[in-house]
Symmetry: C2
Subunit: 148 residues, 2 copies
DNA sequence: CCAAATCGTGGGTGTGCACCTACTAAATTA
DNA sequence: TAATTTAGTAGGTGCACACCCACGATTTGG
């Protein structure tokens, strides 16, 4: 737990430090919500990727999300057990399994997104809506530029 | 490694997600720098705490930083071996060991801070100085309010 | 002055994460 | 058709992190 009492100013003066700490808080809170449903971050990421970009092979998913292919396989397993994703052989290349999200999967993703937004509302409570938008925009630029 | 190619918009739409991911990137980059010196995040945090708030007992440090006391002991061990901290029995209560930062420790802390600032410059490169200040201010407010 | 609480510390545990290897099935190349 | 390459997957490793317990030394409260 992060019952932080009083942080050394030398550290809070570093944006990188704030980023790292606040990010960890965000991660742990969302993680806790997901854990209540016996899920982890990647389950949500995979669902989102399939919902946004349509069906794709495990290898493609792995490349997109920057995860090891063998780990994607495990995630897809667990999602398929829940009926949230399905796998069909690609008729063009029968080595490939095309993973796709099911209607139930979309429902689940919506629920997870709602969870994340609830966490977000609490975490960003000190900021006005306009400030939240600014924060979002800045983070988006930093994040998208931070590849490699 | 985080060779992220293309992130699902459903995820980047969540500020919490951006926070979590960007934070992780920041953490991993600073972590890599520290690892080059065979250190971890907490070494720097402890040095900063001692530099900012003056000598303190292990228990107090643990409470301040939100870390388990026994872990603080290990960190202080490693810092003391390097000559960056010293431990003296508190004459008032001889159970307590007052840890304090040495001049060499302050030098080391300065070097680590410079490292962190270098990482920060690269990470925040897409933002103007004014935008960086805004980001810092917003994060600081979110972070300080996010206790518990 | 004895019992209870407190401090530092050594050692160990569980968990999540990133990563790697080996193997099978299928396709591609020669 | 034989040899090579690629996809998916099972299983396992190493590591960092948070957490927890037990103990000796010391102080404090009754």
């Amino acid at each position: 737990m992060y019952t932080v009492t009083e942080i050394p100013p030398s550290l809070t003066a570093l944006t990188t430090y704030l980023l790292s700490r606040t990010g960890k808080i965000a991660r742990s809170r969302i993680g806790a919500r997901l854990a209540e449903r016996d899920l982890r971050m990647w389950h949500m990421a995979v669902l989102a990727a399939l919902a946004d970009a349509g069906p794709g092979s495990g290898r493609a998913l792995a490349a997109t999300l920057g995860v090891d292919p063998s780990d994607i396989a495990k995630i897809l397993d667990e999602l398929t057990v829940r009926g949230w994703t399905g796998r069909t052989r690609d008729p063009a290349d029968r080595r490939r399994l095309l993973a796709e999200i099911t209607p139930a999967g979309r429902l689940a993703l919506a629920a997870l997104t709602a969870d994340a937004e609830a966490v977000q509302d609490r975490l960003l409570a000190p900021l006005s809506p306009a400030e939240r938008a600014v924060l979002h925009g800045l983070l988006l630029r930093v994040f998208t530029a931070a590849d490699g």
